[in-house]
Every structure is written in C-alpha cells, then in structure tokens.
C-alpha cells in the first residue's frame, strides 16, 4: 500500500469535510495523497471513478482509453464534453480532472489495456479500477494485478443492472475465478443509462478510497449486485476457484 504524504494547508482546507469522517481522518487523507490508481477505461464507469478519486484527493491517476469523443459517449462519459467531439477522449478526461484538481498527477495513455501494455500500466499504480467493456482487457488487467499483488475493483453493468466486487490477490476470488473464460455471448455494446454507470462508478471509487485509506469494510469476497429497475440490492458471497488459471497457485 502507498506511503502517506503530509498535507499542505490548501489540501487540509480542500478535504476538511471528509477528514471529519471518524475512521478516516487526516491519516487517511495522507494515504490517498500518496496513492496512485489505474482507471481503465474512462467511459461511463471510469469517468465517474476518476472524477470522484480526483475530488477525494488521490495523488496520481493513470488513465488508459483509446479513441476520440463521439456523440454516443455523451449520455454517460462525464469527462467527455460536446466541444471535444472528434478529439482524443483521454485528453478530455485529463483536462476536466485538472479543472477540478490541479494538484492531481495524471498519466494519460491513449490506448486501451491489452496483454502488451497491462504489465507496465498496472506497475504504475497501487490499485486498479477495472471499468473496461471487453473481457480481454479485463483479463489482462486482472492477471497483472494478481501477479503484482495489487487490489483491483471490478465493476460492470448492463441495462439497469450492475455488479461490483473487490479483489485482494491471494485472499478473494479474482475475475478469472468468477469467469474462467470469455463469455460466448458478450458484445461490446449494451444498453446503459449514465445514471446507472455513474452509480457503479461512485461505488467503485468509494471501494478504492476505503482500500487505500485502510478503513471501512470492502467488498472483498463479496459481489454486490443490484437492479435499479426495481431497486433490489444483494450482497452475495463468491468463491475462489482452487483451479483458477490466474490465482490458483497463490
């Protein structure tokens, strides 16, 4: 976990209201300042994750997202703006995050996570938030996070439903324990409202803040599932797979 970094006066003023959280306090804030988080991608989920982490005072964000802003991004990808249509998404994200928090260090990579770049991207962070739509990207990040012993927050949604869990390598199920292979029916495009991906994004950011700050009870070993169509929430117990190809030997 990250080395805490002392706060300056501006930071103490900025984070005053969250430092009032009893089991977080200034010591928790110093841990966030010393922390780095990889967010991939910064779309419907990742935009909100990155924005909340920037607001909360995480010291460094590594953002990975390919492509340029399109009209169909703008119902949910809150770091993308109309005046940035046709220009790189990751630059829009960096610009918007810096407007909120100019102290934030950002490594902006205009690629999606792949088998080729996952090792390097994960090595630059203390924790990973997986917001990618394709299972190949998610499996590459999961493998590297497990190999490098870094927590990974797994979030997903479809229609008005969502799933979120926190992976602590060697202690909880990893993504490959839950989904040992590429789901045959999964397609990149799916129905989504921004309010659904944004809800999951806020929850994932809070999971990251708890794990980095060392307080509260995370979703380690549990899968939160919910459906905003009827507001049914369930916290379910998930199992490690002793034969998992990624974490079975850890």
């Amino acid at each position: 976990m990250p080395d805490p970094r002392p706060l300056n006066d501006e930071e103490k003023a900025t984070y005053e209201w969250q430092i009032w959280v009893d089991d977080f306090r200034e010591a928790g804030q110093e841990k966030l300042k010393g922390a780095s988080v990889l967010v991939s991608r910064v779309g419907g989920l990742g935009s909100v994750v990155a924005y909340e982490l920037a607001a909360a005072g995480v010291g460094k964000l590594v953002l990975a997202h390919a492509g340029n802003v399109k009209h169909s991004d703008l119902n949910r990808q809150l770091l993308m703006t109309h005046n940035w249509l046709g220009k790189p998404r990751v630059e829009s994200a960096e610009r918007r995050l810096k407007e909120l928090n100019p102290r934030l260090e950002i490594v902006a990579v205009s690629e999606n996570v792949s088998e080729e770049n996952a090792e390097s991207l994960v090595s630059q962070a203390d924790l990973v938030v997986d917001c990618a739509p394709l299972f190949q990207e998610r499996f590459a990040m999961n493998r590297q996070a497990v190999l490098q012993g870094k927590p990974i927050i797994e979030c997903a949604m479809y229609d008005l439903e969502a799933q979120i869990t926190t992976v602590i390598p060697g202690q909880t199920p990893c993504l490959a324990c839950l989904f040992p292979e590429q789901p045959p029916e999964w397609r990149r495009e799916f129905p989504v409202f921004g309010a659904v991906s944004g809800t999951v994004g806020c929850m994932a950011a809070m999971e990251a803040i708890k794990v980095l700050g060392g307080f509260g009870e995370s979703l380690a070993g549990s899968l939160l599932t919910f459906d905003l169509r009827d507001m049914q929430f369930a916290k379910r117990r998930v199992l490690r797979n002793p034969e998992c190809r990624v974490c079975g030997q850890i």
Partner: protein, 92 residues
C-alpha cells in the same frame, strides 16, 4: 420440490422474465434445473446457459440465496430455495 429461478441481465432479456418457478424431483441438481430451463425456453437462452457439450456455461454463476455454489454441487437444492443465475456483464 419447487425452485424459484431469478434471471439477471442478458439472461433476463433472453428469458423474457425476471423470475419463475420450476418443479424438480426431490433429488434434482443444478444440472437438472438448467436442463429444465433450457427445455422450457428457446434456443437463445439454452445457448447462454449450456455449452455445446451440454454442460453449464462456466461464465454463468449460480447462487442459492446469496451464496455462490458450484455447478457440480450435488446437494445445493432444496424445496423453496431461490437460485439466481448471474449473467456475465462488463464495464464501459
């Protein structure tokens, strides 16, 4: 015994419903349950639940109540339980 099945995400879309009941023999297993669902619904749901060799898709996660169970668990079911079939979903 009567088992209530809850579908999620794409499984819900393919089945056209959130939940429904199935009547199984008292010795029924999760495999029997999946076969009963596949028999009752069309090709699309059957393909999502079963691989080409007829075994359950490993990427669909079964829960009894709030607890994940293995597909091959022989004693997972009893009268009145709810089985949730969790569809694989992703980010974006």
């Amino acid at each position: 015994m009567v088992i209530t099945v809850e579908y999620t995400a794409q499984l819900k879309r393919a089945s056209g419903k959130s939940r429904e009941d199935f009547e199984l023999a008292d010795s029924g297993t999760l495999i029997d349950l999946v076969n009963a669902i596949a028999d009752q619904h069309g090709e699309e749901l059957a393909r999502m639940l079963k691989s080409a060799d007829g075994t359950p898709q490993t990427t669909v996660i079964p829960f009894v109540g709030d607890d994940q169970v293995r597909w091959d668990a022989s004693d997972a079911l009893r009268d009145g339980v709810t089985v949730t079939l969790l569809s694989p979903i992703s980010g974006g």
